[in-house]
């Protein structure tokens, strides 16, 4: 009786693994149904050897690093620009009224829809990719910086005015620290958008190194194993970046009393 209970408990514990295992088994089964099936259902062993091949030739690493680089550069440029514009909009009501509507109008265009335009204007190289990624990071940071600074408790601003802070001092000593939680939230969004648009722009520009380009090449030569390895590494890298950023966020916000 005890053993059965133990078993059931174990099943309950590992039931999350059942689905992936089932899929893998069915996948492997389908891959042995003939050549017509192996086109999509690549044998698991081949996915593994594709992975080893990509690692040994260094292709996976080179392309991943290139993609990461684009994301990070875009995130930094878009992040600082967004911080600046969002802060400006929060400090100056005039700037808010002038920039706000423009911001909300331009934001409506799906980012990847801008790619044909940017390709015509700036060509197909790295600059265009970074432009798209920066824009992707820019939008959420502006919004969260602005809202974070707007949401500052009024008494802090009053103290600042008692201390006769000028606008710059107000910004640096009051608004920016108070808005940090919101800005970090914006940064998390920005990272996700930047990552998606990096991969998307690599698929659409299809020049230069990058995981997107790697996938496109694999698709053209019908190498499903490489496509799968690329998709998995995109997912894992995104997860890893997300996790490290949320650690950074916790570290930066450690002063905040936990609600």
């Amino acid at each position: 009786m005890n053993i059965i209970n133990q078993f059931l408990l174990n099943v309950k514990h590992f039931s999350g693994l059942l689905l992936p295992i089932t899929v893998a088994v069915v996948w492997e089964f389908m891959s042995r149904q003939g050549d017509a099936y192996t086109y999509i259902f690549v044998p698991l062993s081949q996915i593994y050897s594709g992975f080893v091949e990509l690692i040994q030739s260094g292709e996976l690493l080179i392309n991943l690093v290139a993609t990461l680089q684009t994301t990070v550069i875009g995130l930094v440029i878009g992040g600082f620009a967004g911080l600046f514009v969002g802060g400006l909009m929060a400090v100056s009501p005039l700037a808010n009224k002038l920039i706000g509507p423009l911001y909300h109008t331009l934001r409506q265009v799906p980012l990847l829809g801008l790619i044909p335009l940017i390709a015509l204007w700036f060509g197909n190289d790295l600059f265009s990719k970074i432009l798209i990624v920066s824009l992707a990071a820019f939008y959420p940071i502006v919004l969260n910086t602005f809202e974070g600074m707007r949401g500052v408790e009024h008494k802090y601003v009053e103290v600042a005015s008692v201390l006769k802070f000028n606008r710059l001092q107000l910004l640096i000593h009051v608004l920016l620290p108070a808005a940090t939680p919101s800005i970090m939230t914006g940064l998390m969004h920005a990272l996700a958008f930047a990552w998606v648009s990096t991969v998307g722009s690599e698929l659409l520009f299809s020049t230069g190194p990058g995981v997107g380009g790697l996938m496109l090449m694999a698709q053209e030569s019908s190498r499903m194993d490489i496509v799968i390895v690329a998709v998995v590494s995109i997912g894992l890298t995104g997860l890893l970046m997300n996790a490290s950023l949320s650690h950074l966020r916790q570290y930066l916000l450690r002063w905040r009393s936990v609600r």
Binding site: P20, P101, I115, Q219
Partner: protein
Amino acid sequence: MKKIRDLANSLHTNALFFVSPILLLLAWAWVCSAGIFPEQILVSPAGVYQTAHELWGSGELQSHLHDSLYRLVLGFAIGVLLGMVFGVLMGLFKPIDAFFAPSFNALRQVPTIAFIPMLVMIFGVEETFKIVVVAKAAFFPITMATYDAVKGIPRSYFEVSKVYQLSHFSLVRHVILPATVPPILTGLRLALGRSWMVLVAAELIAADSGIGQMMEMGRQMFRIDIVLVGVLVTGLIGFLLDRSLRSVETHLGRWQQS
């Protein structure tokens, strides 16, 4: 007197609202008329309007719009339906949750766009692929929203309805629906925006019709005016989709404020 001041105030703010877009438009027109960039690089606003008019007159724009919106609606409907069913099941039944959650969360990490090459290999570049892409883009946020909404119903609501001996119908009608609809609607809005973006990207990559394909064709023929019309139309549609769901949200959520 106060009314007049209010009116003047609102005119003032509303006028300011249009200042920057109009300035941008004027700057654009001025740069064009000054001839700083050649016509192939920057088409004047009038030129873009002209092209839009021609595309509309020939029925080309409508047919692209029709194809894109058809894909969006069909794919989105499939994604929403599956996502809601899945979200409710995972939210209500622990074993189902435990069974699917790890796989679901792993798949959720991969951006939809990254699946495009794989989906092209499986489904080809025809209609099916685009509808699957849209459905996939919608499925994950909606499942998440539904799951959170169902999980978020306080246990006390069920206890109260038990005390009042509510029938199953009124439990659903008066407790479960009002508690879950607002968060699900927010999920729908997010999902719709993402689906639209992913669809446009998919059409840019592989399509023989649709707004994305129109832009891609414009890019290949160096017709910047067509590309700009496409950008404006995609932006407008994204805006209208978002705005309409937002108004549904405020309409259905109006009891929350009062």
